[in-house]
């Protein structure tokens, strides 16, 4: 059952491009082509606008909440080539850090799993990906760049969950090292997996299947599964589920070919449901049945829908 709790007129003056709730689900941030980011308090089904963040000079494409252990931080990225990290202080938000080292639209931002620290990945149309790490010692941000990650542009980035590989699970061993990984999708129709290797980021896998721009990628949170799952969606109207046990050999399953381009894929926090948003304004929910076959369990229209199992 998908039942609407709250419908929020954001007051944005142009298209909304992203809407994300924070770690606790208490606040909603939205961003729009009107160059602004808005933060709402949505506790108990009532929304109050907390702040309207102005600082971008172009449409704001995506926003990301940090884990609260780092404070209340919100990252936004815009067509104005900038990434801004906003910070809340006594319910007022102010610019905390601005990163302006991309040469084109920054299309995607996402904070790394908190286990890794305060790290932000940004994908840009200038074909590069930046990884910004906050350094507590110096109170500064270090930037690393993956150049030429995706020709013509990177559209989406998503972090791998901080899980340890199944191997080396033996007790008594030293703790297996957590490895930072990213997945990105771009206008070269590719999905790429990046792994941090020392102080560099290397391309670990290149997943070829899509025949048009990859619009979004989403690495599934791993709740108890030592298995990697990624969803990618594309202008080619397809959503592909990629799975791997070792991050090297990836197996692809075409979830479905939709009637329109697919803009957005998003995993539930358990990683068992995938929300797919298409250009025809259709939002569908998918899960895997007991045989492992993906099935559409709901069509969500205006925030409402039935669940058919």
């Amino acid at each position: 059952m998908v039942s609407i709790i709250n419908s929020i007129d954001t007051g944005h003056e142009d298209m909304i491009h992203d809407a994300e709730v924070d770690y606790y689900g208490l606040r909603l941030a939205t961003c729009s082509s009107d160059n602004s980011v808005k933060v709402f308090d949505i506790k108990s089904g009532v929304q109050t606008l907390i702040d309207d963040l102005k600082g971008h000079f172009g449409p704001v494409w995506q926003i990301a909440w940090s884990h609260p252990k780092f404070g209340n931080l919100l990252a936004s990225c815009s067509y104005d080539r900038k990434v801004i990290i906003w910070k809340e202080h006594q319910r007022k938000w102010a610019k905390y850090y601005e990163y302006a080292n991309h040469d084109s639209s920054v299309n995607s931002v996402q904070f790394a799993p908190p286990e890794f620290g305060l790290i932000l990945a940004c994908g840009s149309s200038d074909s590069s990906i930046s990884i910004l790490s906050y350094n507590q010692g110096t109170n500064s941000w270090d930037a690393k760049k993956i150049q030429n990650a995706h020709a013509i542009g990177c559209n989406a980035v998503s972090w791998a969950p901080a899980i340890t590989p199944l191997f080396g699970n033996g007790e008594g061993d030293q703790k297996p090292q957590l490895i930072k990984r990213l997945v990105s999708g771009g206008c070269d129709n590719l999905v790429k997996i990046w792994r941090e290797d020392g102080d560099r980021w290397v391309e670990e896998s290149k997943l070829e299947l899509h025949s048009d721009w990859v619009r979004d990628v989403a690495w599934a949170p791993s709740v108890g599964l030592h298995r990697y799952t990624i969803a990618s969606c594309s202008q080619d109207r397809r959503v592909v589920i990629w799975t791997s046990d070792d991050c090297l050999n990836w197996h692809s399953t075409i979830l479905h070919t939709f009637d329109d381009v697919v803009w957005n894929v998003s995993w539930s926090l358990n990683g068992n449901i995938l929300a797919v948003s298409g250009g025809d304004n259709k939002i569908t929910l998918w899960d895997q049945n007991s045989e492992g076959v993906w099935q559409c369990i709901s069509d969500v229209a205006k925030g409402q829908g039935q669940i058919n199992n």
């Binding site: 609407i4 994300e20 149309s125 906050y134 108890g224 998003s266 358990n270 250009g279 205006k302």
Partner: protein
């Protein structure tokens, strides 16, 4: 930015949108020469090769052509599906048609040639709707419409335009399939192919234009742009055919004539043009600027670009053939790249030579700056999206195109667009309705306490044999004698086996055995071996005279040893001679040590399983049996273990056996199930979870099953008096389960399952839920990452690394259990927060870190809350999930310091997390200065409104002189009595300032006690006593076993006592009509006046009230009341019950009550339990069954569970029945 480059002077065409991957067809351009003067021509296909970082495009195929090309087009329809058809327009009216598939395979691809035109074919265009149709334009106003299916006979759209001119461009309308635009140098003619005639002619008499090229608006059918290649008026005009007298707009920016122009199909706000000024411009033809809005200058080249083409499949790409001998591919998306240096080969070879008579510009390296469109292209604008949030929330937004278009359609340029609501929907997603249902059932069962029944139901429900067995075993754990039950499940029914044994053994043997033992008894008394020997001989019957041999053979040696009482040697000799019996008998006289050694030696030398068994029995070491038995004998091993092992050893041994089976199961998977049974007997949660879910449970049904099992097992283990440490696999499972519940929006339930475990995962999730529920402030709100950086370590759990701010000492209690053992968070005033019935019966709230509250709340005047409850939990204190989750024990504190008065000083006051008192955020408040020191009780604490029954007038009189001040203390006292009720919340409004004498310096102390504890009741001697101890002042210091939740029973228990203890004028009659919130104040007052500690008071209680039972020993008089009330309620219920089911239930209750009475008779219940029972009776008398249930929950979560488990379910059912049947004693 420039992306790719082909070194060709060619007319090009992109592969159609449906074609993948993207290719570019390039046909050698007519009217061009290269340095070699070669007149060769070819049609080539290049792959875009976008992922290759270099500038080169890969040449896929190339076919020579006899003719050079003026124009090429690539359509999607072809003889073979897939690649389509390429058509080239050449000199002399020639049209060449190629099969693109064949071309790509480098096969002979030329499908046809038509020479219907008379001059060079400059323009071609495929119809967007019927891809088999294409139009062509040539000299002499010739326009043909061709059908690929019948290429021989093209048709003409109508009469030729006069005067005859070159047709410079032809273009199909993008919206209406039968409309075709054509340009001639002085006019633009629009044709309607249904009518076969021109329907409109556009001319501009004002400007001196030369219409080189036309571009239809991709969306608005009536709009088109016309571009002029006239250097004097290098303009683009936007026309609307509905207002065809003059252009809507003129785009002016090119400095010289425009050679080509293309409107982007994917974004109608993008129009590309290129001209003789060597520039490629991107316009927004729909923009409001009067002279046209240039969004970007895509490139500035050294030569003319003679065409510009949008890639149909990748709208960010534009191909521009240039007269400098290159075709360049540009990306509209920015990014700095080095301009690829090109050389003009013509210029190199023949300076001054140039096809268009233009002086070659000296080549230089040009570094392009990154170029972005001033306005983002549409394809970057995500119109729709959905994301998930904590708690199964789905956040959706979409761009309602229809609505927006509708709204915008009526907006004139320049006008302020109307407000379009941009909404975001937040929805709750519930996908696991069954899970939620099952989870609720489980909770109910846990609350209800009928575990065995639940197991039986499960057993009956499941079809899986193994599951049945598992539930059977689990059920056994809830029986009166679990081991016996388990044994019988293993096939060892004690009775039947004993019978069998008896048959075999017979009574005679029994007798003999007895006799033998007598002998042994006698033997022990004998000092002399000879005498023993003698006696044995006597027993043997008529004895012959005895000769003692002292030869040097074994016997003789033994004899000698015995004679000299060298027992050790004698034993050794006997063993050597394999006279084991002798050895053992002799050893018995040598002391236990020797005996043990002898046994050991004997067993070592014996063979056969029996000896192993004997060995185990003798040595009480079952490990060897478990480790060495045949795997198939696991049942026997388990049975033996169940029979013999002590309570401490049993779990370990069962687990060991389980481990063995698990190990073996690698060879025989079937054994895994047996291993699970062993784990079940062992209560090994981790192992069971691991074994159950070797591949991680993902299926929610299976997870639910496992959780059910775990919860029940937990109950079983608790029943054995063991404490369950939630960690490892169990913690992992619980976390996942709770997270799953969270994803269904069941936050409260989820939180209940999480309990109080200190497992990092659990506490992280618990914290998250609490914040989400608004029970707690988020860490992010109060803390500054910078500050935290100094001390946080990443390895630590989150909670530890979010310090609440400057004073973080107690903000992360999750990870610091030690802190609590020294400072047990006694939480008496906040009963509503305790949890029971749930898994590990842990409390969530008491562990809540105190978020430092913003400065304002650091008020020196402490909030006068006696029971500062978290609103949420109080509100839900009745029924439902949260009620179940009220009283929780935290194991870590259960062994806290004793309650003694002396200890009390060091006790933390009952700190209540939700208290807005920010001072709690430092550790100091835990150690409260003696209350007496503060000597004040905030007046506001008047709970009168809450307890109308409470005597509002100050009972000061009752207190007597020694009781100093507080007139209102009694009422304050009343508050705790309402421990199970919401009233505390309502006490909040009565915000009162502390009494004037309250020193502002110690604001912390009194709120913590809740001013309700009359500190002076007991005089200044016990000043800092924590509330609970106040109630039991006279109680000997007893181990403080039941920390948070337990704080209540003592006081309430005392109330119960008090109720029996008639106090003149304080209450009406004992055990009669108290309202639930018993105002304990009376009693305390009375007590303090009489200085009678509870125990004494108890003794002084009237003894004659209850009837005596005849058959059984009498119930102690002070507890008669219990029986009287319980029985009365049960009888009333029984009378009121109208269905057999309820009656049966009540019969069961009767049995359980009898168990209780027996326990009372035998005085087997702890004082705490007794107190609680008395309190329950009081509540029952008051008709407050809900509180009674709460108390019940609290009791079963206490440490005495094992002791009371046999009857508590009965009390619960009784209370529930009473509620249901509306039975009240009053």
């Amino acid at each position: 930015m420039k992306l790719k480059d082909i070194e060709r002077t060619a007319n090009v065409a992109w592969s159609p949108k449906s074609h993948y991957p993207i290719h570019l067809a390039a046909g050698t351009a007519a009217q061009q020469l290269d340095a070699s003067f070669s007149t060769n021509a070819a049609l080539e296909i290049y792959s875009l090769n976008v992922t290759d970082p270099g500038p080169d495009m890969q040449l896929v195929s190339s076919v020579p052509s006899d003719h050079r090309f003026h124009k090429i087009i690539w359509g999607s329809v072809g003889s073979e599906p897939g690649s389509g058809t390429i058509i080239g327009g050449c000199d002399g009216g020639l049209i060449q048609i190629y099969n693109a598939s064949k071309l790509l395979k480098n096969e002979d691809a030329l499908m046809g040639r038509q020479e219907k035109h008379s001059g060079p074919v400059h323009s071609l265009d495929f119809n967007g709707f019927q891809q088999n149709l294409f139009a062509s334009g040539a000299a002499n106003s010739e326009i043909f419409i061709w059908d690929l299916n019948n290429i021989a006979t093209p048709m003409s759209p109508g009469a030729k335009c006069q005067p005859l001119e070159d047709v410079l461009s032809v273009l199909w309308n993008k919206q209406v399939q039968h409309i075709l635009a054509t340009t001639f140098s002085s006019k633009c003619v629009i044709w309607d192919l249904r009518k076969n005639e021109p329907i409109i002619k556009l001319t501009d008499t004002v400007s001196r234009v030369h219409w080189k090229v036309v571009a239809w608006h991709p969306e608005v059918a009536t709009q088109l742009c016309l571009a002029s290649d006239e250097d004097h008026s290098p303009i683009i005009q936007l026309w609307d055919l509905r207002f065809a007298t003059s252009p809507l707009k003129t785009l002016e920016n090119h400095q010289r004539g425009i050679l080509s122009m293309a409107w982007c199909n994917d974004d109608s706000d993008l129009l590309a043009s290129c001209g003789k000024d060597n520039r490629i411009l991107i316009w927004n033809p729909n923009g409001s600027q009067p002279n046209g809005e240039v969004l970007a200058e895509l490139a500035k080249t050294n030569q003319w670009n003679f065409d510009v083409l949008w890639c149909p499949r990748n709208p960010a790409l534009i191909a521009c053939p240039n007269f400098d001998g290159h075709v360049s591919i540009y990306s509209l998306m920015g990014g700095k790249t080095q301009q690829i240096q090109t050389t003009n080969k013509i210029a190199d070879s023949f300076p001054g030579m140039d096809g268009y008579m233009q002086a070659p510009v000296p080549q230089q390296q040009v570094v392009t700056v990154s170029v972005d469109l001033a306005k983002p292209p549409k394809w970057l604008k995500r119109p729709v999206g959905a994301s998930f949030g904590f708690g199964g929330k789905l956040i959706c937004f979409e761009n309602d195109k229809a609505a927006v278009a509708h709204t915008l359609q009526n907006v004139q340029p320049g006008q302020q667009p109307p407000h379009i609501p941009r909404t975001v929907q937040i929805s709750q997603v519930i996908t696991e309705a069954t899970l939620v249902k099952h989870s609720q059932e489980l909770e109910k069962a846990l609350e209800y306490g009928n575990f065995a029944e639940y197991c039986i139901n499960k057993m009956e429900e499941t079809k899986d044999q193994h599951q049945k067995t598992i539930w059977q075993y689990l059920r056994a754990s809830f029986e009166a004698n679990p081991r016996v039950e388990l044994l019988s499940l293993l096939g060892y029914n004690i009775e039947s086996i004993n019978n069998k044994l008896n048959q075999h053994v017979g009574t005679e043997l029994n007798h003999n055995v007895n006799g033998l033992s007598d002998d042994f008894a006698n033997m022990n008394r004998l000092d002399d071996f000879a005498q023993l020997d003698n006696q044995i001989h006597e027993k043997k019957g008529p004895s012959e005279p005895l000769k003692i041999k002292t030869t040097d053979d074994t016997e003789g040696l033994v004899t000698q040893a015995l004679l000299l009482n060298n027992i050790e040697a004698a034993v050794a000799l006997c063993l050597k001679a394999k006279k084991y019996a002798d050895a053992l008998i002799i050893a018995t006289t040598g002391g236990p040590d020797l005996l043990a050694r002898t046994q050991h030696k004997y067993l070592e030398q014996c063979e056969g399983y029996i000896s192993s068994l004997i060995s185990a029995v003798v040595s009480e070491d079952w490990t060897s049996i478990i480790n060495n038995c045949e795997v198939s004998s696991w049942k026997e091993a388990l049975a033996a273990t169940l029979t013999h092992a002590s309570d401490e050893d049993l779990p370990g041994l069962c687990e060991q056996l389980g481990d063995r089976l698990t190990e073996e199961s690698k060879r025989n998977p079937k054994l895994m199930q047996d291993a699970q049974l062993c784990y079940l007997c062992a209560g090994s949660f981790d192992k069971l979870v691991n074994s159950w879910s070797q591949n991680r449970v993902t299926d929610t049904n299976k997870m639910q099953q496992l959780i059910e099992l775990m919860m029940l097992l937990q109950k079983a283990v608790e029943r054995q008096g063991r404490r369950v440490q939630v960690s490892g696999a169990l913690a992992d499972l619980l976390t996942r389960y709770a997270f799953l519940l969270v994803s269904q929006g069941e936050l409260t339930t989820a939180s209940a399952y999480l309990g109080t475990s200190h497992d990092q995962k659990i506490s992280t999730l618990r914290e998250r839920i609490q914040v989400a529920l608004g029970q707690k402030q988020s860490f992010g709100n109060q803390h500054d990452y910078q500050n935290q950086g100094r001390r946080s370590s990443h390895k630590q759990s989150f909670s530890q690394s979010y310090p609440g701010g400057p004073v973080s000492g107690n903000t992360n209690p999750f990870n610091t259990p030690n802190q609590y053992s020294s400072i047990p968070p006694v939480n008496p005033p906040q009963p509503a927060q305790f949890n029971t019935g749930l898994p590990n019966q842990s409390t969530t709230q008491p562990w809540q870190p105190q978020p430092p509250v913003p400065a304002p709340s650091f008020s020196p005047a402490p909030p006068p809350l006696t029971q500062p409850p978290r609103p949420g939990s109080v509100g839900s204190s009745h029924g439902g999930i949260s009620s179940r989750s009220k009283y929780v024990l935290d194991p870590s504190v259960s062994s806290g310091p004793s309650y003694g008065v002396s200890a009390a000083r060091g006790f933390p006051p009952p700190i209540d997390a939700p208290m807005p008192n920010s001072s709690l955020s430092s550790n100091t408040p835990y150690f409260v200065p003696p209350l007496a020191a503060s000597g004040h009780v905030p007046a506001p604490m008047n709970p009168t409104p809450l307890n109308p029954v409470a005597p509002a007038p100050s009972p000061a009189a009752a207190y007597g002189a020694p009781l100093p001040p507080p007139p209102k203390q009694t009422e304050l006292y009343a508050a705790p009595s309402g421990w199970n009720d919401p009233p505390p919340l309502s006490s909040r409004p009565s915000k009162a300032e502390p009494k004037p004498e309250a020193p502002p310096s110690d604001p912390i102390t009194h709120p913590l006690y809740g001013a309700g504890y009359p500190t002076d009741t007991y005089g200044n001697d016990i000043p800092s006593q924590p509330p609970p101890s106040m109630y039991n002042p006279a109680m000997p210091p007893q181990p403080y076993q039941q920390p948070p939740g337990a704080a209540f029973p003592p006081p309430t228990g005392n109330f119960a006592h008090q109720s029996n203890f008639q106090h003149p004028g304080s209450f009406p009659a004992p055990g009669s009509t108290f309202p639930p919130p018993v105002t304990g104040g009376y009693d305390i007052g009375a007590m303090s006046r009489n200085a009678v500690p509870p125990q004494v008071a108890q003794e002084a209680m009237p003894r004659a009230e209850t009837p005596q039972h005849v058959q059984k020993p009498p119930i102690p008089q002070e507890h008669e009341e219990l029986k009287r009330v319980f029985d009365k309620v049960r009888e009333r219920c029984s009378d009121a019950a109208n269905n057999p089911q309820t009656k049966r239930k009540l019969e069961d209750v009767a049995r359980k009550l009898e168990t209780l009475y027996d326990l009372l008779r035998e005085q087997k219940l702890s004082p705490k339990t007794l107190d609680s029972l008395h309190q329950m009776v009081q509540l029952i008398q008051g008709g407050d069954y809900q509180s009674g249930l709460g108390l019940h929950t609290q009791m079963v979560s206490g440490p005495d569970f094992a002791q009371i488990a046999s009857f508590m379910p009965g009390l619960k059912v009784l209370l529930q029945c009473a509620i249901q049947l509306q039975v009240y004693l009053r």
